[in-house]
């Protein structure tokens, strides 16, 4: 198809060239206008005739074949050049793409690394703050516990001291109630009676 178009185009170009040549010859300046016109007419006719002789079907076919071959050669060469250019371009594009993408990737990786580092730092800061807060709360809690423990200890100690005498007294009562001999207590009883002798005496004599 391409070859056909090419051959047709060459043929058209040749026809146009012949026509232009004839026109140029016909418009050549002369002294005698009439004579000139006649001569031009003759030339034109001769040219047309020759053209029809020159560009017969075989010649045209030959021209077509030559044109086809030439065109095919040119097409092949161009295709080869195009392929080479294309390969080169592709290689360059690949290289450039690789470089570009590599640079961008590297830049993105750098950005990502920086972002990660920042995030890590933020996380560390947050963790540090949390640790500090927890430590502070722990210290406060420990202080509260300590105070509460001391208060409880003091309260228990006070209660123990308050009740210790009762405990000892209860113990003595329980332990000694069946052990004390009245005969052994008699001197103490007499002594206490002696100490209250006056009151007893006055009361008994009423």
């Amino acid at each position: 198809m391409m070859t056909l178009i090419l051959v047709t185009a060459i043929g058209v170009a040749i026809v146009i060239g012949v026509v232009l040549l004839v026109v140029a010859l016909r418009h050549r300046p002369g002294t005698d206008k009439k004579k000139a016109n006649t001569a031009d007419q003759a030339y034109n006719d001769a040219a047309i005739e020759e053209v029809s002789h020159l560009f017969n079907e075989e010649f045209r076919e030959e021209l077509r074949n030559r044109g086809r071959l030439r065109f095919e050669k040119i097409i092949n060469e161009n295709a080869m050049f195009l392929k080479q250019d294309l390969d080169m371009t592709i290689a360059q594009v690949n290289e450039q793409l690789k470089t570009e993408i590599g640079g961008k990737l590297e830049k993105e990786v750098d950005n990502y690394g920086k972002a990660m580092k920042d995030a890590q730092q933020l996380a560390l800061d947050a963790l540090q703050r949390s640790v500090t807060a927890v430590e502070t709360q722990r210290a406060e809690l420990a202080e509260v516990f300590k105070k509460d423990l001391e208060a409880r200890e003091a309260a228990l100690l006070k209660a123990f001291e308050d009740n210790l005498a009762k405990i000892v007294e209860y113990y003595l009562l329980q332990a000694l109630s069946d052990q004390l001999d009245l005969r052994a207590q008699l001197p103490m009883i007499i002594k206490q009676l002696e100490q209250n002798k006056q009151a007893i005496m006055e009361d008994m004599r009423l």
Binding site: E161, L164, A165, K166, V168, E169, L172, L173, L176, S177, D178, L180, L182, R183, Q185, L186, M188, I189, I190, Q192, L193, E194, N196, K197, A199, I200, M201, D203, M204, R205, L206
Partner: protein, 166 residues
Amino acid sequence: MSDAPNATTWKLPPTLITRVDLARLVREVEAVDSELEAQKVRSQGQEAYRLPVMSRGLSDFTELNAIDLTNDQLRMATKEQLRALKDKAPVMHLTFAVEAEPEVLQTLVAWIRENAHPQGLLSVGLQPSLVGGVYVRTPNHIHDFSLRTILQTKRDVLVKALEAIR
């Protein structure tokens, strides 16, 4: 001996401790009186009295106060005075933590008769919660000499002692 006995000067023997003992003494005197009256009726005044067997309390009482129970008049007066004494003798109530032995009670009643009233009597009670000592109640006063009260009143001493140890 023919004079009427003066009950206010009577000495009661240590064995006569409580109002019950005194009541028993009164009953015994009445019994002796009945016995002697019976002997008097039986012998129509011809024979001397033979005193019946008396308890140690009555023997001690008559001996301590030199009372001749064979004397009718004196015996009658004694009986009446003892009855009156049974109702009027001052009584001191003593409460102990354990059962009191008679010897202890005799010692205490002796002290009372020597120092408070010569005809004083005891009324004995038992309260184990006292732990020790005695709880004394006279007609108008109370004297708590129990160990329980002593411990309670001297609790501060115990607390101080414990604080010193701590």
